[in-house]
């Protein structure tokens, strides 16, 4: 049993949980994830570790309530318990000093981007951060990111905050300006966003790392469910990833596999109608 110490709503359907998991907190490095199950009989949900404090033995998790499993996780109040928190899983992010880097976050991906951007800044990189969301209420961690970013640029689809449009608008400006062009780009967010970013950087030859979120069961390489084609090879996101070279990822295959249970999820939503789905 893993105690939930804090549970804060950051945006509609998006929660920030602080969970007691001393062993995981001590072992964790940026880029790694945990598999969480709220109670017996529930789904195993992979969640990126947003932050960890080895001294207090706590993890910070950002959870977007989408399906039945994630809705039950965010419903656990402070003082309540999660039945299972297993990890840290996956490969830690490879951090080095590239000089100028851009960190691109979309929606809840921004929360996952946060520890990575911080680690990049600490390694001496000059970090330009671009974050986007549907509207102002979905813009996360702007102030926190500004604390170590050379600049934070914001886009919203409805123009309610920052520039109207997608994060790619801002990235295009950076790529076109030789004085500002990043050496490396890190993109975390919805699959279409990561795909668009990778296509945008490709002609410029700018290395682009994306963090993938395929369907996952055990997280240890056992089931092969999280396989994704990178280059010509099938890789397991749980043990080989979750971060991969965005220019080599088969985003279409990933997007397809993510729809595998849409019908099941729709049925679950109907069965649980009134359960507080935003």
């Amino acid at each position: 049993m893993f105690k939930v110490l804090e549970n804060e709503v950051l945006a509609p359907g998006l929660h920030r949980l602080v969970v007691e998991a001393p062993r995981v907190a001590a072992a964790r490095r940026p880029g790694q994830f945990v598999i969480v199950r709220s109670a017996p009989g529930e789904e195993r949900i992979p969640l990126t570790i947003g932050d960890a404090d080895g001294a207090s033995g706590t993890l910070t998790l950002f959870v977007q309530a989408i399906g039945a499993g994630t809705r039950k996780i965010v419903a656990v109040p402070p003082g309540g318990f999660l039945r299972d928190v297993a990890g840290p899983l996956g490969q830690p992010t490879h951090i080095e000093n590239w000089g100028r880097v851009a960190c691109i976050g979309g929606g809840v991906g921004t929360a996952v981007l946060y520890p990575l951007a911080k680690a990049l800044a600490e390694a001496g990189n000059q970090v330009t951060t671009v974050i986007g969301g549907r509207s102002a209420e979905f813009i996360l961690l702007e102030k926190e990111l500004a604390a170590f970013s050379a600049e934070v640029r914001v886009t919203t689809e409805d123009g309610s905050r920052g520039r109207r449009g997608f994060v790619t608008l801002e990235l295009e400006d950076l790529l076109r300006n030789p004085a500002r062009r990043p050496r490396s780009v890190f993109a975390i967010g919805p699959v279409p966003m990561m795909r668009a970013v990778a296509e945008q950087t490709r002609p410029h030859g700018v290395a682009t790392i994306v963090s993938l979120n395929p369907i996952m069961i055990d997280g240890t390489g056992m089931c092969g469910g999280c396989r994704v084609v990178v280059g010509t090879e099938a890789r397991f996101a749980c043990v080989d990833g979750p971060e991969f070279d965005g220019h080599l990822v088969d985003f279409q295959g990933l997007a397809d596999r993510l729809t595998m249970y849409h019908e099941h999820e729709a049925q679950c939503r109907l069965a649980h109608a009134g359960g507080g789905m935003p």
Partner: protein
């Protein structure tokens, strides 16, 4: 007295048949297929044992259960004594009585099998173990142990780990099992369906180990949550029995289409996470009208029979050799056939074909013929030119086997591995690192429950000697 039966009288008794759930009914439910013998049947079957001096059955058992002893007690109706004799050597008898391939182990060596049918040791083991579970309150508890003051860690809660843990605990060592998944049993729970091995049986066998003092911590992934190095510092000895979990992929076009599963994923969803079994389970699973399972082992049989129970109209085994070359147990093949499973033999998959939305719709296959024997001693399948055909399948399950999972071993470069990534050990289970022992599938590659248990037992004996000398 029953033991006064003459050999002739014993030889005149016919082998008992295991009562089973009706095939049409059971092919749509997850309740256990084999229903177990009655006391009367079990005693009569036990009386078939000739009590021969040479006891070849014991040598045929990887954990060397004293088969003649427990069978003789059962023949006399002394069930407590039978249970005592059986459980002395086997930590998981109710599991073994259900999933061991007795026909190639103890029963294969039975003298009665030379002419006629061997004693049904597996049925008897199951009977005695089930009786012991139902009557545990009346049985004497485990003998008191003398604490050794030593601590041992066990990696993995499957058959190897559970056996090693039980053996170490009864020898007085303090044992903690670390399990990566959220529940106990390892492959027993996620890999073997309810209709062959009910989860309640695993729960009870695990409970017995907890009763002798074994601690179990789930959600701890050795190699990630804790390193092997940390275990070596915190414990006096370590046993690694983390299994072989890494699926062998098909390596054909379309294997990433929606609807294509590895056996591990398919079985884990159903067996560990309740998909399709527990009403209103949140775990999704694709059911499919046509399900093709590629492979011919026991895991393939488990998958195809599960698919049938999840409602498949056509549940098919696709195997590139013939039925007699299939590695699955004869009983499993027989049960699958009774349940309406189709066997598409001498057929190799070439590709999974999909629709425009990325869903699997068919398996493109090629007919095969059997040529000369290959390295495995089985006749090598060779493709028949121009024999391609498409088999409709919305769900395709790859049951081609597993390889060694590198998650733990990759983080301990000093641990010596063979070229397949399996841990190298001596015959006692000792690895290249002092105080670290290993067994089960991570050492031998994909094998059986009982071989893993045998490894756990042998390694525990070696660990006990190591702990006492250190």
């Amino acid at each position: 007295m029953i033991n006064n039966l003459s050999a002739k009288e014993r030889l005149s008794i016919a082998r008992e048949k295991m009562p089973e759930q009706d095939a049409a009914l059971r092919s749509r439910n997850f309740a256990e297929v084999n229903l177990g013998l009655s006391l009367e049947q079990a005693m009569r079957e036990a009386q078939r044992c000739l009590l021969c001096k040479s006891r070849p059955c014991v040598a045929g058992c990887p954990v060397e259960v004293d088969i003649p002893e427990f069978v003789a007690c059962l023949a006399q109706g002394d069930l407590a004594a039978a249970a005592h004799a059986l459980m002395r050597d086997n930590a998981l008898p109710a599991v073994c009585g259900r999933v061991c391939p007795q026909e190639v182990q103890c029963e294969a060596k039975c003298v009665r099998g030379v002419r006629g049918l061997p004693v049904a040791v597996g049925y008897l083991e199951r009977f005695v173990a089930d009786w012991a579970m139902a009557n545990s309150a009346d049985l004497p508890g485990p003998p008191a142990t003398v604490p050794s003051g030593k601590q041992a860690a066990v990696v993995g809660c499957g058959p190897a780990g559970l056996t090693a843990a039980g053996e170490l605990a009864t020898r007085g060592h303090e044992v903690t099992i670390f399990e990566a998944l959220h529940d106990t049993g390892g492959v027993l729970r996620y890999g073997i369906p309810e209709f062959r091995l009910p989860k309640g049986i695993i729960d009870q066998e695990v409970r017995r180990l907890i009763d002798v003092g074994v601690r179990i911590e789930c959600n701890v992934i050795i190699g990630k949550t804790l390193t092997l190095g940390q275990l070596r510092e915190q414990y006096d000895a370590v046993f690694i029995g983390n299994g072989a979990g890494l699926p062998v992929m098909l390596g054909i076009d379309g294997e990433n289409l929606k609807g294509v599963y590895s056996a591990n994923e398919y079985l884990t969803r159903v067996n560990l996470m309740g998909a399709g079994q527990v009403f209103d389970s949140a775990t999704p699973i694709l059911r499919g009208r046509h399900v093709a399972v590629i492979g011919g082992g026991n895991t393939a049989m488990d998958c195809v029979r599960t698919a049938r129970r999840l409602g498949a109209e056509r549940a098919m085994i696709v195997y590139r050799r013939g039925e007699s070359e299939m590695p699955a147990r004869v009983e499993e093949v027989h049960h699958a056939k009774q349940e309406g499973v189709e066997f598409v033999m001498l057929t190799a998959p070439l590709a999974v074909l999909g629709d425009e939305a990325g869903w699997a719709r068919a398996l493109r296959c090629q007919k095969m013929a059997l040529g000369e024997p290959d390295a495995s001693g089985r006749r090598r399948p060779v493709s028949v030119a121009g024999s391609e055909f498409d088999l409709p399948a919305e769900v395709v399950i790859n049951a081609l086997g597993t390889r060694a999972n590198p998650l733990l071993t990759a983080t301990e470069p000093a641990l010596k591995l063979n070229k397949w990534g399996n841990i190298e050990t001596d015959e006692r289970g000792a690895t290249s690192l002092p105080g670290i022992f290993a067994g089960g599938d991570i050492v031998r590659g994909g094998a059986t429950v009982i071989l893993a248990m045998g490894d756990g037992k042998r390694a525990a004996a070696a660990m006990d000697a190591y702990l006492r000398s250190a």
